[in-house]
């Protein structure tokens, strides 16, 4: 059996006595692009944060390429893009990327940073302070940061929400390149078309449990509610 890229094994997460995740199971094959769907409050952000080692599961394991240790090696293979932009306002674009490149163990941080900025179309403002960027530019910088160290696994929390059209195009292009290069993507989304187009698999998270996983079907592209109606417990 091939090793799974990302595996969540009966993951529980309690906030006090309230279970946000109730034994969620997920198995993501290498090279897949999984769209993680679920209503607000289902636990998508909690789940992704646990996968990214930002939060400890109360019970259960998470394995990155079979490694449950959550050590530096496992984290090196992961790129995370959360709700927040994750760049420092008081550093320039290139300073931000060099810092994160260094932390991610990139061999030549400056060169990688310049390349990443070119990729997202920000090379002309590389010395500009992140604080002065427009919202769309900040989003592109965030995307550059997530892809900087060419991670094998990308964990993205509602990445297409509130992006402008330029940023959407950049992100789609980067995701396609990453997939072509063999990366694995887990992306939570509200069934936005741009996300669904890229997805090869889907999973539905409902009240802390994964109630359905499978290939992405054509019906899901056109009808936002299809998955919920077909597999969800609540309409």
């Amino acid at each position: 059996m091939r090793m799974l890229a990302v595996e969540a094994d009966r993951v529980w997460k309690y906030f006090g006595d309230y279970p946000a995740l109730r034994g969620a199971n997920l198995a993501v094959e290498p090279g897949a692009c999984l769209a993680l769907l679920g209503r607000n409050g289902a636990g998508k952000t909690t789940f992704l944060r646990i996968l990214a080692n930002l939060s400890r599961p109360t019970k259960g394991d998470v394995r990155i390429f079979g490694d449950a240790s959550r050590g530096a090696e496992a984290r090196r293979k992961v790129g995370y893009l959360g709700h927040g932009i994750g760049v420092y306002d008081d550093l320039s674009a290139i300073e931000n990327l060099i810092l994160f490149g260094e932390l991610a163990g990139v061999a030549e941080p400056r060169r990688a940073a310049v390349e990443a900025l070119e990729r997202v179309g920000l090379e002309r403002v590389k010395d500009g302070m992140a604080r002065e960027f427009s919202r769309g530019m900040r989003q592109r910088l965030a995307v550059a940061r997530a892809f900087l160290h060419r991670p094998e696994i990308l964990l993205l929390d509602e990445p297409f929400t509130s992006l402008d059209d330029k940023a959407i195009a950049v992100l789609q292009s980067l995701l396609q390149d990453a997939l072509a290069g063999g990366a694995t993507i887990v992306m939570s989304t509200h069934q936005i078309r741009e996300a669904m187009e890229l997805a090869t698999h889907v999973a539905l998270l409902e009240r802390g449990l994964i109630v359905h996983t499978g290939l992405r079907a054509p019906e899901m592209l056109n009808d936002p509610g299809w998955l919920y109606r077909t597999y969800g417990a609540q309409a």
């Binding site: 309690y14 906030f15 006090g16 006595d17 309230y18 409050g41 109360t58 009240r207």
Partner: protein, 226 residues
């Protein structure tokens, strides 16, 4: 069932305490040098000893919470810290009264009292910060860390106030208890035990309250999620 046991324990402890105090006030003679006020040591010292016991319990349960993530241990920590802080306050107040009687001042930076005051400040920080954290797991984790940091400071505090150069600034007298005469030892030991039992009963009451509170919080959250 558990509540009944707690109340029985509390009642028993209160009875033992009252009996002991009765003995202390009516049957023991006045002390040679200090007169009647020395009887306060039957409350003052047991309070300090028990505070130490409960703060140590709080340390152990804080470590256990971090290791097991079981909220029972966090409830034990907060209950022990609250009771310990109360006992420390009792110790400070009775010590102050004793000092006023013996030296004419309400506070004299006596070595032991200063150490107790610092303990009180350390755990006061715990008690103030804890309600300011809304999320239960974070609250429990941060409180446990604070409890560990506070306890680690106690030996350092005791060392610091005994430094030679500090002593010259605060040469205050030490509340001397000396050695206890034999007829005092039994009431003294009973006093420690009685205070321990009462405090334990209070801890149990607080534990029960904490678990009820957690249940309410989680039900409320579950309700909002629908």
């Amino acid at each position: 069932m558990r509540e009944k046991a707690t109340y029985v324990l509390g009642l028993l402890a209160a009875l033992v305490m009252i009996f002991n105090l009765h003995t202390v006030f009516t049957q023991l003679p006045d002390e040679a040098m200090q007169g009647a006020v020395y009887r306060i040591i039957f409350i003052h010292v047991p309070a300090a000893i028990n505070a130490d016991i409960f703060f140590t319990c709080a340390l152990v349960s804080a470590i256990l919470f971090l290791a097991t993530k079981n909220f029972l241990w966090d409830s034990v920590t907060v209950s022990c810290v609250e009771v310990g802080a109360m006992l420390t306050l009792l110790n400070l107040v009775t010590g102050s009264i004793w000092g006023r009687n013996q030296w004419g001042v309400w506070w004299a930076w006596d070595l032991r009292m200063t150490g107790q005051l610092m303990c009180f400040l350390l755990y006061m920080g715990y008690l103030l910060v804890r309600p300011a954290i809304s999320e239960p797991t974070q609250r429990a984790t941060m409180s446990s860390i604070i409890s560990i940091f506070a306890y680690a400071d106690i030996p350092l505090v005791l060392m610091a106030i005994r430094l030679p150069n500090v002593r010259t600034q605060h040469p205050g007298p030490v509340l001397e208890t000396g050695t206890l005469a034999p007829e005092f030892r039994a009431p003294f030991a009973i006093g420690i035990l009685a205070m321990f039992l009462i405090s334990s009963a209070l801890v149990l009451v607080r534990l029960h309250q904490e678990s009820a509170q957690r249940e309410i919080d989680s039900l409320r959250r579950e309700l909002h999620a629908r």
